[in-house]
């Protein structure tokens, strides 16, 4: 809301101090064209998400989720890393606090991602903005930022690209879950290692050079210590928070 005045100022500012300042002067429309453009641009990426969805479906069944639960989770949560971690924690009785708490913590990054879309989202109606945000995932967020920075003014791009992700993610979860029930002993196929492998590969994408090293070492030490002392999955939250605190205190000095 605070920024809406720049729109009426037209192109008076040079805008080279801030990338987003440049786009403030452009019109952002929310149209079917934008939805379509987002959807089409995102299809290749969504195919990859679909493959990932197959794996999620299989793992969800192995963890004891019903087909319905797995599909509803994919349709309403729509957050790959958090869902995989939740499935890794799944047990009976379900560790409710650990599952929901970890989901929250793993997804805290979305706060920053959603915040970064503010220059464009403020130009939409709240209903358009808050509907689009439901469909925000890592992959289409990156595509959306690219498209909006290019100045195409397609405010519905986030929604369109998110719908592509959603369709592939949900359908492939269902296929994977159906197939997963028939596979037999998953260890034969190394399925027990699949989650570890996915997490390792994701971790590589979170690597930000040497700055990441110390927080990660601290996280590892804290996690192993907490796991030895406390029951359940508290070590996950402890490790994450330890990395955060390390990062913050290091930069204070």
């Amino acid at each position: 809301m605070a920024q809406t005045n720049t729109e009426s100022d037209g192109n008076s500012s040079a805008g080279d101090e801030d990338v987003s300042a440049e786009t403030e002067t452009e019109r952002v429309a929310f149209s079917l064209d934008g939805v379509r453009a987002g959807f089409v641009t995102c299809v290749p990426v969504a195919l990859g998400v679909g493959a990932y969805g197959l794996v999620f479906g299989v793992l969800a069944r192995e963890a004891g989720l019903s087909l319905l639960t797995a599909v509803v989770m994919s349709a309403t949560v729509l957050a790959g890393a958090a869902q995989l971690i939740a499935v890794g924690l799944w047990d009976w009785p379900i560790p409710v606090v650990a599952v929901i708490g970890t989901t929250l913590v793993v997804n805290l990054r979305y706060l920053l991602m959603g915040a970064s879309l503010r220059p464009w989202l403020t130009r939409l109606s709240s209903r358009q903005a808050y509907t689009s945000l439901f469909f925000m995932a890592d992959e289409n967020w990156a595509l959306t930022i690219q498209d909006l920075r290019a100045g195409n003014g397609r405010g519905a791009f986030l929604l369109g690209s998110g719908l592509a992700i959603w369709v592939f993610w949900v359908v492939c979860t269902a296929i994977g879950a159906v197939a997963g029930g028939r596979i037999g002993n998953p260890e034969t196929y190394g399925l027990g290692f699949v989650l570890t492998a996915i997490f390792l590969a994701l971790l590589v994408s979170f690597w930000e050079g040497r700055d990441s090293l110390i927080p990660w070492i601290v996280a590892a030490v804290v996690a192993v210590s907490v796991e030895a002392v406390l029951p359940g999955r508290w070590y996950i939250l402890a490790g994450g928070l330890a990395a955060s605190l390390t990062e913050v205190t290091r930069n204070v000095r």
Partner: protein, 106 residues
């Protein structure tokens, strides 16, 4: 019994989707009201990596040498190709081959 299990599970899923949506919409919502400090940004930035490290260290310590070798393969492929899926496939393939080659470490 089955219905009971299913309903509980669905309630947990509903909790997950609620907190997830709060994070997706919350950043935009809050930024319209307050500018986050640099430390808050840094803290949020460092969270996902720390969480993954915590999960992985415990899993890998339980896993043993076969998984460590496959893990190294995953890291190499992920680093080179930036493809999570390809890295996963190579990692699982490595695991199956190492196990199949009669290494009775486990």
């Amino acid at each position: 019994m089955f219905d009971d299990v299913s309903l509980t599970a669905l309630a947990v899923v509903f909790g997950m989707s609620t907190v997830t949506y709060v994070t997706k919409a919350g950043g935009f919502w809050a930024l319209d009201r307050v500018e986050p400090s640099e430390s808050v940004r840094e803290a949020l930035d460092a969270l996902p990596g720390g969480i993954l490290v915590a999960i992985l260290i415990v899993r890998l310590l339980e896993g043993g040498p076969t998984e460590w070798m496959a893990g190294i393969a995953v890291l190499v492929v992920a680093h080179r190709t930036e493809s999570v899926l390809l890295a996963m496939i190579v990692g699982v393939g490595t695991l199956i081959i190492v196990r199949g080659s009669g290494a009775s470490i486990t």
